[in-house]
């Protein structure tokens, strides 16, 4: 008799963004004239840059011609893409990462969710609180998180590292030693960034206790300050304790295109077991490579034209971040983030809960944000707004919030 994976049943409610989608859909149906502005899910709004569109058309034409048609991609990615990533994202920043340590896939979300598979179910994970839900939920599904305790809103076997106003939204070393440490900088959802010296402390800590840092750098393109590292591999010793996830979603608008990559140094071991061959085996068995045309689009991100165009695109969104940050601060809100990240983290006024503020904003300002409590109990009373809207909508949304 087939039995379901009961761990799935431990997941409370539905996935945060599905829940928001449902609330907004229902509101829209009840108020068909409402002019809803979405600054919630972190989806981008600017079209793909011309250099990327050109690369896509070219690759599509290749696929229509027998002489240039491409079938199965290499499991781990085409060399043309892995090489340019190694050169421009790593070697150019002084990071010792080679092309064959880069695994191309369909996005950081999948990779962040799947990476836990190559580790023992006994391993204990540490996560920031608030946190991107995928890290926790993927471990719950695997049976690594224990049971959900509704009173604390936490899983019994997960180590939570609160990121609060008091610590400037920066995690502190946990009391109990974790085996796997999820870190995301620039941070989703708080928009906080970690300095190189602070990240070095985490690398040293992980090497000391034999833990592995699962480092989500999906938002590195939004870093504007000099002392903020773009990669964990800028830190000394990271090759023996870190895996890094990168995305094309936010630096190049690929949320609907799907491309990302994961870096696993060949030196990296869990106990005596090298992890690079395990992840390679996973790719070979459970994945068939990212589409050729989309890997060509990824390559165009690194071309001179692509880089110039995307610099403008990132600047466009960061102007939005500034509008939100300055506007809400001027209106008396407590705000942080938004300087090295496309997310602004604000405190709900009048001690409202995150969902109360969500409902208020949706109802009175027709603006959709993300309730901080959806990212974990320490996110309660906070709220995330994204800079990924259009400039016009961002200005209108901030005006509406100011008038509340």
């Amino acid at each position: 008799m087939a039995k379901a994976n009961d761990n799935y049943l431990k997941l409370p409610g539905s996935y945060l963004f599905s829940m928001i989608g449902k609330k907004v859909r229902e509101y829209g149906e009840a108020h068909p004239d409402a002019d809803i502005i979405r600054l919630g899910i972190g989806d981008v709004t600017q079209p793909l840059a011309p250099a990327i569109i050109d690369a896509l058309h070219k690759a599509v034409d290749e696929m229509g011609n027998a002489a240039t048609f491409k079938g199965y991609a290499p499991d781990l990615g085409y060399d043309f893409l892995r090489n340019v990533i190694a050169e421009q994202d790593y070697k150019a920043r002084g990071c010792d990462i080679s092309a064959d340590e880069i695994f191309v896939a369909d996005g950081a979300k999948s990779d962040c969710a799947n990476i836990q598979e190559i580790f023992s179910v006994d391993n204990k994970i540490a996560v920031c609180d608030p946190v991107y839900p995928v890290y926790v939920d993927s471990n719950v599904m695997a049976g690594r998180a224990g049971d959900y305790d509704a009173a604390t809103e936490r899983f019994t076997k997960v180590i939570y590292m609160p990121c609060t106003e008091a610590n400037g939204f920066m995690p502190e070393f946990p009391k109990e030693d974790p085996d796997l440490i999820y870190l995301c900088f620039p941070n989703n959802p708080t928009g906080s960034a970690i300095t190189k010296s602070k990240l070095q402390e985490w690398v040293d800590y992980a090497n000391r206790i034999g833990a592995i840092i699962l480092y989500d750098a999906a938002y590195e393109a939004y870093i504007s300050e000099d002392d903020i590292p773009h990669s964990i591999f800028e830190c000394e010793g990271a090759r023996t304790c870190a895996i890094e996830f990168r995305s094309f979603s936010k630096n190049a608008g690929f949320t609907g295109v799907r491309l990302g990559f994961t870096v696993i140094p060949k030196d990296l071991k869990a106990g005596d077991t090298a992890l690079h061959p395990l992840w390679a085996r996973r790719h070979g068995t459970k994945y068939n490579g990212a589409p050729y045309i989309i890997q060509r689009a990824g390559e165009a991100v690194y071309s001179p034209e692509g880089k110039a165009q995307l610099k403008e695109q990132v600047a466009y969104y960061m102007k939005n971040a500034r509008v939100i940050y300055d506007g809400l601060k001027g209106a008396g809100y407590d705000v942080s983030g938004g300087v090295n990240a496309p997310y602004i983290w604000l405190k709900a006024p009048n001690n409202m809960t995150s969902w109360e503020f969500f409902d208020l904003l949706l109802d009175k300002a027709n603006v959709v944000g993300t309730p901080g409590s959806g990212f974990g109990p320490s996110g309660e009373h906070f709220f995330r707004l994204t800079a990924f809207g259009t400039y016009e909508n961002t200005v209108r949304a901030v005006d509406r919030i100011k008038k509340l």
Copy 2:
């Protein structure tokens, strides 16, 4: 201290197709002038059909325009694609499957590998022997397969259903009741097809013992005979015992494009747990939807032009199948498959092992095939050739084999 998932270490050697790739690469390096013809991995060679190329270009243009740009896709797929699949692949064949029971993803390989996640680790799987390695390996990684016994070349906790000359390469009900039954028809690797009445027996059996059939129908486009079902949902009662996987790789040449879908009826339960919401939750947590432009390409597969063009493409490959089948049969080989499937299954001559025949073919004919033993011990002494080469290469490969 981080610990690796030791189940990965139970996997013997590398993934079959990686091993073949390595052998061919090494042979090519040692014999740079060799004119190698690849009829091994099952990769297609014909370019994408014009209707698909047009759809891709159109969708790329949409992505370059702010008014039509698409960000995150719906987790489970765009309605335009799910609807046309439900209509043409299911309702048109009298199968009671609705659009919201169709989960669009990046290919049948990923889905076949990932599906086991929503089941208990205690569940016992049954597979055909020989078998597509992904079914077994993904269960090994999850710890569901037990240990590898080198003597029998089998995993201790897996139920194997031998498909041999004696039973016409058709699995028989196993002695021990399985919880999950992987079936692939038309079959990879043997090219055998199952009749509707025979498949109905499997459906009845699964319903009787409470097992779930994981039905891989990736090759249904190659069915040429009337009594062969294209979907397991043509059988009565399949809604309560079956999940079906479909691919665009072989009917539309999408091996390098990546698109497929999985059908989970809402009625389907494991014990008391409905599986549709579990798979939906998995998609929502670990996946971000197939790329918009590629879902539009998938839609074009169902357009009148697309269908006409792809009918020709399938006929092209089936002509190859006929060339291989007739050619090798005429030369005295024992051959099967190739009538409702793009695979020809032949017996290695002179009691050679599969890998001996692989080496002989590579060395003396410069033809790459797939050793049957790579699919399981009952595949020993057999060999798979695919019809996915070009017509010219297929004719040349068969001529060379005949001359051995």
